[in-house]
Symmetry: C2
Amino acid sequence: MAPRVRALVFDAYGTLFDPFAVKTRAEELFPGNGAALSQLWRTKQLEYSWLRTLMGRYENFWKLTEDALVFACRALRLSCDEHQRKQLMQVYLTLPAFPEVKPALEKLASLPLSILSNGTPEMLSPLVAANNMTYFFQHIFSVDALQLYKPRPEVYQHAATSLGIHKEAIGFVSSNYWDIAGATSFGFRTYWLNRNSAVADELGVTPAAVFVNLAGLSRALT
Amino acid sequence: MAPRVRALVFDAYGTLFDPFAVKTRAEELFPGNGAALSQLWRTKQLEYSWLRTLMGRYENFWKLTEDALVFACRALRLSCDEHQRKQLMQVYLTLPAFPEVKPALEKLASLPLSILSNGTPEMLSPLVAANNMTYFFQHIFSVDALQLYKPRPEVYQHAATSLGIHKEAIGFVSSNYWDIAGATSFGFRTYWLNRNSAVADELGVTPAAVFVNLAGLSRALT
């Protein structure tokens, strides 16, 4: 039997906070292109995090996110000046939590809760604070401490080591299947939040359980 | 001044051989879905190669390509049986070379020419043979020898070490910008074949030169 979960670690973007909230701002700045811009931006943000880790050319997530935005605007032939770029980047610091997140975390708070994210500490602290969620989290772990992005196993190990809890007793929660794959491969007990009825990737690993959102997980664990 | 190029190393898929040739076969098997299937298949094939390398869970390119196909069919809600999957996979062994490739290689053949590809030796040998191009290549390097995918620097180093030529004197040719980024970051002299007027990714590196296809490169080097 699997050991009892003794701590929960959450991914941030897409899991607790909605990165596609940038779509609204993008649509205001570039009418008719908000959806395409926000999607390509997100795709390239992830791609650059993987490629830079593979190449051994780390840049922090703020820089890499801005690089992805520059590419996305160029690829979509949108003329984006520095002021507009700053406006879009700022949205990342105030992304809203998904509506069920706060009530679910309140139910789960008997366990130590932490965040493990690609974002820099300078991105994550204001984001958590803007959502009045600082008091929920014992730790906010950033990959920036290791200069490697998910899904490198060292990143998940960093959280496990800092928590001082055996990895099989740590529940890891993400809406991103590739992140779930990395965390499962490392040895966490994983919960996939499949918010948009996505199809699981064929990466040779399977999460411990799947929920449509965090409310489902909180019901299962409490 | 940059040293004279003493050898050329080519990427295979998308550079010498057209992977979107699977579109025709996919369209025959799944009318109306050929373009979407071949594109998603290719996207996931690359994504899985990066993610598996990051996770330290290598599978060879044949297996990973089949996994990507299974995912793509599932995501597009196409019911693909084993026979259809085999038919699509077989296309990979007979992809046609782009039309200008053979005349261009003939002009470049005063230099030692090699291939460096994610494909397995079992995928690359029949592909090169099917195009009557075996005699062009001194070496066909596969990442399978290292169980790591591009753009990990070890992969490019493997080719440089085997050739016994200093990396700055090796010209590396690819149509995939992320591969060019990895090869440039490693230290090869890189030539990007920008076949489809793509926008260069923001990865902090720049190729030595850009051509629309291999004919342009052969004119520049001979």
